[in-house]
Amino acid sequence: MSFAAAGAAAGMAGAGSALLGLVALFLWSLWLRLSVRGLFWRLGVLVSGSGLWLLAAPFAPAQALGLALRGFTVSAVVVTAGMAVSWTAPLALLQVLRAPPSLVAFLAILARHAVAVRDEAQRVWQVLLLRGAFDRRANLPAALRILLAALVSSAFRRGERVADVLALRGFEGRVPALPPWRWNVADLPAYLLTALALSATALEAIG
């Protein structure tokens, strides 16, 4: 694990070793037994942001490519750390830090419904798959349009339903306190890595 942490930190320190940092992160996620599939999905979202730079690698100036790689490494550290810590810990930590209750309430409800939306996306994806929407490459754009439309429409429906539920459950902006935040040795490397990654980014921006 210390190897992974050192590798990731090295990756952040210089563009040349960013790839080494990514490999270290990958090893760390294996050591933590994180879902490799989940990790790749999340990293895929990041790649879609920095991917333009990576795709343009043969034509991009070396400095730009280095920056893209380093940015991606920092993001990957945060994503991996986010997967490594127990999932209510960040919310509980916000409570300890006396974050505004409305912010904690918003994030708690968001956390719950982000999962519900993901499940819905998976269901629509599976329905499309079973109904042969991806059988022919030519169908792919139409299938993706259906997926997007279904998600948008269900998001509206869910929004209305959540508003009804909040009204019927007497919601007035108060959210019960989450379980008290406790130090967990297993989470420590994740917090340290996140802090390291964010500090490196901040120092880079200042310097």
Partner: protein, 213 residues
């Protein structure tokens, strides 16, 4: 809270663009502590009627919950005494873990947060799902979610319970646990179902309200 009466007089509802009223004109009443099954074919307006009672929709006819109409002026008072269990528990569970979700209602009713958590734990215990208290909602089965959602509704001690096909997605065991839990509650109940036989064979007496297509 003590059980509330429910009176429905000439209630009907027409959705935008529809050519038929769903439900068609309907009148019935349930005395405090009474229980009624609401039966009818798909699309006849059973859920719509529940939404009318809860003040989520407006339309023709009169609804009274404990003598109060769910008009804008009385809405907060009516909803304070009313519990609504949705058919799909995924819609109704708002917070990431079971205990916090059940405590949501009491906390918003002004209960001390520590006491609210105790009340939530008690309700989970009463429904036989205390082991789920700290489990993330996403890890629960549909039956477990429905029981947690019911605990969340009951934790506010409603006088009138509106239940929209609560056992539709449950297996026999989970349905039985949910029905046993409802047997112990003294609130007035209006329950939408397609499985009248299951409820009519239980010890507690259920009246039947049918919506004709």
């Amino acid at each position: 809270m003590k059980a509330l009466s429910l009176e429905i007089e000439g209630v009907c509802h027409r959705h935008p663009g529809a050519t038929l009223d769903t439900p068609p004109e309907l009148s019935f009443s349930i005395p405090p502590g009474g229980r009624a099954l609401l039966l009818g074919p798909n699309g006849c307006g059973k859920t719509t009627l529940l939404q009318r009672i809860a003040g989520l929709l407006e339309g023709a006819g009169t609804v009274r919950v404990g003598g109060l109409e769910p008009s804008r002026r009385n809405l907060a008072a009516v909803r304070k005494g009313l519990g609504f269990l949705w058919q799909n528990p995924d819609d109704a569970l708002l917070l990431p873990t079971a205990l916090e979700d059940v405590a949501l209602g009491p906390v918003n009713d002004g209960m001390d947060p520590k006491r609210a958590r105790e009340v939530a734990a008690e309700w989970l215990e009463r429904l036989g799902v205390s082991g789920l208290a700290d489990r993330p909602i996403r890890r629960l089965s549909m039956g477990e979610k429905q029981l947690v959602a019911l605990a969340g509704v009951l934790a506010r001690e409603p006088g009138l319970l509106l239940l929209d096909e609560p056992t539709a997605a449950l297996d026999d065991d989970a349905s039985e646990r949910l029905a046993c839990a409802l047997d112990q509650i003294e609130a007035t109940m209006l329950l939408v179902t397609h499985d009248a036989g299951f409820w009519l064979t239980r010890e507690r007496r259920w009246d039947v309200v049918r919506i004709a297509p």
